[in-house]
Point group: C2
Amino acid sequence: MKILLIAVVMLSHSFGDSIQSKYAETSLKIISKSLTDSTAYNRLGYMCDTFGPRLSGSKNLENAINWILKEMKSDGFENVRGEKVSVPTWIRGKESATLLSPFKKELSMLGLGGSIATPRGGLKAEVIVVNDWDELESRSNEVPGKIVLFNAPFTSYGETVAYRYSGASAAAKHGAVASLIRSIGPWSMNTPHTGVMAYDDDVQKTPHAALTMEDAMMLSRIHDRGDKIIVKLDMNARTVADRWSQNVLGEIKGSVYPDEVVVVGGHIDSWDVGQGAQDDGGGCVASWEAVRLIKELGLKPKRTIRCVLWTNEENGGKGNKGYRDMHMDEMDKHVLAIESDGGVFSPKGFGFSGNDSARKIVEEIHALMKPIGANTISEGGRAADVAPLNDEGVPVMSLKVDGSKYFWYHHTNADTFDKVDFNEFNRCVAAIAIMAYVVADLDEPLPR
Amino acid sequence: MKILLIAVVMLSHSFGDSIQSKYAETSLKIISKSLTDSTAYNRLGYMCDTFGPRLSGSKNLENAINWILKEMKSDGFENVRGEKVSVPTWIRGKESATLLSPFKKELSMLGLGGSIATPRGGLKAEVIVVNDWDELESRSNEVPGKIVLFNAPFTSYGETVAYRYSGASAAAKHGAVASLIRSIGPWSMNTPHTGVMAYDDDVQKTPHAALTMEDAMMLSRIHDRGDKIIVKLDMNARTVADRWSQNVLGEIKGSVYPDEVVVVGGHIDSWDVGQGAQDDGGGCVASWEAVRLIKELGLKPKRTIRCVLWTNEENGGKGNKGYRDMHMDEMDKHVLAIESDGGVFSPKGFGFSGNDSARKIVEEIHALMKPIGANTISEGGRAADVAPLNDEGVPVMSLKVDGSKYFWYHHTNADTFDKVDFNEFNRCVAAIAIMAYVVADLDEPLPR
């Protein structure tokens, strides 16, 4: 502790009366506590292992939500509550894709969220493989009655995901009876990736599913050799009536400006595969833990820090819109909203969307995170759950991490707790806690 | 070509009349041809994509064998023939493992080769998780009526594979109704690994299957928390009567000592998952290609080079024993047998099992492979298919490669053609071709 205090004194000398000098000791306390406390890591493991994946509308998700509500209360959070949100409910059902020719093979696949079922008993058709939208257009006359496979190589998630989201309608427009995509990821161990898709209004709805990269590449090679490919697709997916879910809220009330709010959070729901550990159990529990640590350290920020764990980010975004709508009259009092939804790998810092004066302040706060390597501020604070708040003028941030493996696991059965590293996760907790606490404790609110 | 000749002349000067000077030009020709010829790479892709995985007793395997026989003949190999071998035939059938408590989840699994089925309709039991043999012993009284899960972390394949091979009998001895293992691999993307298992004679046969590392670790965590785990295991595996398969042989006849033989080969059969691309389609096709290139370059070795593609390495070893038995009277004329069965990643050189005088010669041959980075000789030439020959006194070698990812793919659905790199594969071809050709062309046979 002596060494720590000397370090703090030295920091104070060099930084003068800046944010850095004012919060140096506190941020080191937060870091020290975060890196050694296993509460959050154990909670994440418990949530993953006890409730399973947490798709909107599922019992698993509501069980996890109810457990969080109970635990948050026992942590002594204030105003712990679930705010009801009606969420779309898609149920995967049994599904399979079987290669019938040139040889018989069960293909590893995952139906895409929102897809309709095949006709009862499945559908059997020849497969046409295209590499991109242009090839689909240019070979339009070959498409009718076939299954279109989009074998689009991964460039970036933002670009390639279009084949997942819109592939069904694009293929159906040319007369396809179903469509398949190469899973959206840069690398694979025969790993299918699911995710949300949607239909255009003016097009026949057809079943839409993802194959693994390996199988998509294999079918593409067979196709290039001129051999005929026949696949049987059998999907029993269905969308049922919307069900009730909840956004989870819990707070540390501000000591001076209790009506001014700093939001931190992630989304509780996940796809119905794996454990939703990186996407986004980790972000949720890290945000929750950040607030718990601030409380446990006896820190009393001037503004309220509100942990918001959104429901239904994955297939509808009803949680974040619901939160915005229910809190519309508080929007001018939302000083900042911080989201963690890019995995809880080694943290790099935060992406920020706000004005230049705010950015200068946030940059100073980043400097406090040098000991955990999270001191880089970047562009792009908007992420799915804080975007509706940003639309209303709220400055927003998203935690940036080493994302090199994120899309290996994203929306797959491999997104499991064992992929979360104790130290990396706890550094994420520390980064969120420091950012939330300092912004909530500033003399002036973050400028808009 | 001029530059190449100058290089050869320079090599000759420095090496004098050694193996290195004598074979420098030829080995560079082999390397140059290997690295640019796509015949073998395309053949491997074709075999993987057209016939699928190749388990002993399957039509896929015999289709692949018949195709190889046809292609080898069209390559102009001499004495191309299939030598009949009776092979064990295990059929996986439908199988599943379902976690029923603490929540419902289909576990990714693969039954282990040789396992019996569950009773019709499956069996449902509580799971006891043990980390090793000792823990099984010490908790013997908890085992009766349960499913034992061996959650043994991967140390080396040689060590950890014991849980796969012998786990069923060990668990049954204590009264288990079935057993599960954590898949034998160092890392996983929810990847189950299959492989062969066997039953002790004096023990009740019980079903035996592999879970993914992720699921095994999850069940272990749940178990450590004291929660009850219930799994339903349903396996329809069966062993039917042995079926006929074939070892494939094809030769370049020796110009001076045609009855003296250098064998090169790998095993054609694979597990019934993935495409058997690294294990061992790659080793097979690389060995085949090595011989084809020697022929195409017009090289006429003094001894016969025989490509042997063994059947049934994976679940019985009947191919290699069959080859030994059928060629027992030639054993003293087998100068060397080279096997490639560790993947066709970047080649490092060969493991060698033979006497010291032979090793000195082989070391000189290795020096020729410096341009492709395969110039390291190491211990351990014995591998499954050449071991029976080594038992009869034949010096043996196995190709050594960068094996860092081999056990990621081994016996999984991810062992697919896309995991084979064109350049790495072709360097394996070059290494095998140089070794086989030079040993076959030496003035004296390799000393025993």
